[in-house]
């Protein structure tokens, strides 16, 4: 079932034509570096000595899910079907929704609809005891890392949409340090454990390189 869904996922990601404009990028630059003084995030992503790798992936997945959900929740007044009729990440990238179960063929939906589908889908994954076991001693499935990778790939799309479509609003709400900190943590974590393919990260490649290159 999930393999089938994974196969379908390729078609939810479609490159579009035309290059991004340069003027906004320069203005964004000065806000992009603001973060909370949250200590050493690079240390925070490392697997603690002796810790179970899947357990570490699981607890961090829940944390990142909550962060993205909260950050996006502050933008619902602005991220509307009228303002964001499709789930885009800048002019070159558009995401379509398919979960491989209820919606097998990718469909074009507005950004808020996409995020709603996505958050509900992730919650279903987290609720699934066969994927994210809660009982002490219950094992993770063999394909657990693949499950996590799919979740992270899709969470990234929310960040990509926020940065490309709503960052100026984030700045006016004085949230950029919070957004940047969460995103930096997210990227360092995906890099540490190889959770998102590089091509999937293309919409924010420049920003990501500034996060990872000192690493």
């Amino acid at each position: 079932m999930s393999l089938f869904g994974l196969g379908r996922n390729q078609k939810t990601f479609r490159p579009k034509k035309s290059a991004p404009s340069g003027s906004k990028g320069a203005q964004l630059r000065k806000h992009i570096d603001a973060t909370l003084g949250s200590g050493n995030l690079r240390e925070a992503v490392r697997l603690p000595p002796g810790e179970d790798a899947n357990e570490w992936l699981a607890v961090n997945t829940v944390d990142f899910f909550n962060q993205v959900n909260l950050l996006y929740g502050t933008l619902t007044e602005f991220c509307t079907p009228d303002n964001c009729p499709t789930m885009t990440a800048g002019p070159k990238y558009e995401y379509r929704w398919a979960d491989g179960v209820q919606i097998k063929k990718p469909i074009e939906v507005s950004a808020p609809k996409y995020v709603e589908y996505l958050m509900d889908w992730i919650e279903t994954q987290l609720d699934d005891e066969t994927l994210f076991p809660q009982r002490l001693g219950a094992p993770f499935p063999q394909n657990f890392k693949d499950v996590v990778k799919t979740i992270f790939k899709r969470l990234f799309r929310v960040y990509a949409h926020i940065y490309h479509s709503h960052f100026q609003k984030i700045v006016s709400l004085k949230e950029e340090a919070h957004l940047n900190t969460c995103f930096k943590h997210f990227i360092l974590f995906t890099h540490e454990f190889g959770l998102i393919d590089k091509k999937e990260l293309a919409p924010l490649q420049e920003l990501i390189e500034s996060i990872i290159s000192p690493y």
Partner: protein
Amino acid sequence: MENQEEDEVVLAKVTSEVEDNFEDEGLVSNSTLEKVAAAKKYIENHYNRRMRHIQQRKERRWVLEQKIASLDVSEKEQLELLEDLQRKETEYTRLMRNRLCVDDFDLLSIIGRGAFGEVRLCREKKTGNIYAMKKLKKSEMLSRGQVEHVRAERNLLAEVASDCIVKLYYSFQDPEYLYLIMEYLSGGDVMTLLMREETLTETVARFYIAQSVLAIESIHKHNYVHRDIKPDNLLLDKYGHMKLSDFGLCKPLDCRNISAMNVNEPLNDENINESIDGDENCSIGRRGRRWKSPLEQLQHWQINRRKLAYSTVGTPDYIAPEVLLKKGYGVECDWWSLGAIMYEMLVGYPPFYSDDPVTTCRKIVSWRTHLVFPEGARLTPEARDLICRLLCDSEHRLGSHGAGAEQIKAHTWFKDVEWEKLYEMDAAFKPVVNGELDTQNFMKFDEVECPKPARTGSGPSWKVSITPQNINFVGYTYRNFDAVRGSRHSLDIKGSVSPPRSSTDSTRSDSAIDYTKLSTGGDGSQQ
């Protein structure tokens, strides 16, 4: 006031951003501003907690490694100890993402009740561990402006690892309530102790006042002011050691009375003089007191206290004048409360007792006139002196102006106190406790409501949702590492082992308790 300033800043920022050539479509709604504030707070708290977890995890491992190096155990046993810690850490990591709800606990006796909810004995279904569950009604807290206090309490309990403070194991919420799952201290509290004993000897009082000094010092170190320390917030474990709890939430003052008093009858000198004159007209006894004798006052207090214990309205008897007057107050207001409790321990009733709260407040505000010791009270001069240095204006109070607990510890009444050993030595009073479910040391409360189904609608959600009801309680969930460790057997072992301890407020020292148990577990002969 602060919030208004923040709003202004936000609005100004929005305006300036428009000038910054960003295309803004106008002002944002209050709903969005609330969500932004909640999200920011959640994220900031999350990263603070995260970094603290990492540090604490390293410390636990470091402490165990140091312990192993100093123990005379085989290499095999060393590995077993390390593996045991690792198993606990992994269980804790899983626990961090468990969705807790009230259905995970069996609800047992009610041991306390307040305006916001109640405190119950409960048993965690998975582990069988016994806890106290404090359940707080969200709507009541919102309507009484208690949201920040709730958050402060939860944050303090989650942050402070101390022998002097009751331990918080979990916190979580559902649409209607907040829940705090706390250490159950079966020895009762100082209030019930005083109800049985009436007065304490100076030896017993000194022990508990000294432990209270350490507890208050502990929360002050974390920049927290309690404001409402009173005998029912001083809990006793089964060995008789005291822990500070209930940070001002279970029995709030009825704010309407205080507000009405402030609005209609300002507590200025003229009004106070008038009321004193009025008292004199009714007075039979000397110094204008309405009581015929200290004995009558003691008896009246004993009767009234029992009523207060069942009431959902708190007593102002221990509250500092600057708190009542709603002037700015600092940490020294907690030392006033300590002085009032000390007076009651030795005299038998609170220093400004009256049978109605408003009169008590008036007396507190004009403490210079009303702080007297009954003639029959047998207090040493040192005890009397300490009380007078705590029940005085905030400028001259012991512990004020940054002097802190050290100034109080230096007082001659505490001359023979061994501060570092207070939680290791036998307690001055040993409560009777029969088994871990025993609640004989608490007041008896009847069930008021039929138990309702705990869940409304679907089960607990993964999402940290921002809804109108929840917006003030985002980020409330918490789990303590010690929740992984708890078992009936280990609790008994913990009670019997007294490891050396460098301070009462050290995570490292607390960790040492764990690993003493681990090393005890490694020696089969001790089990």
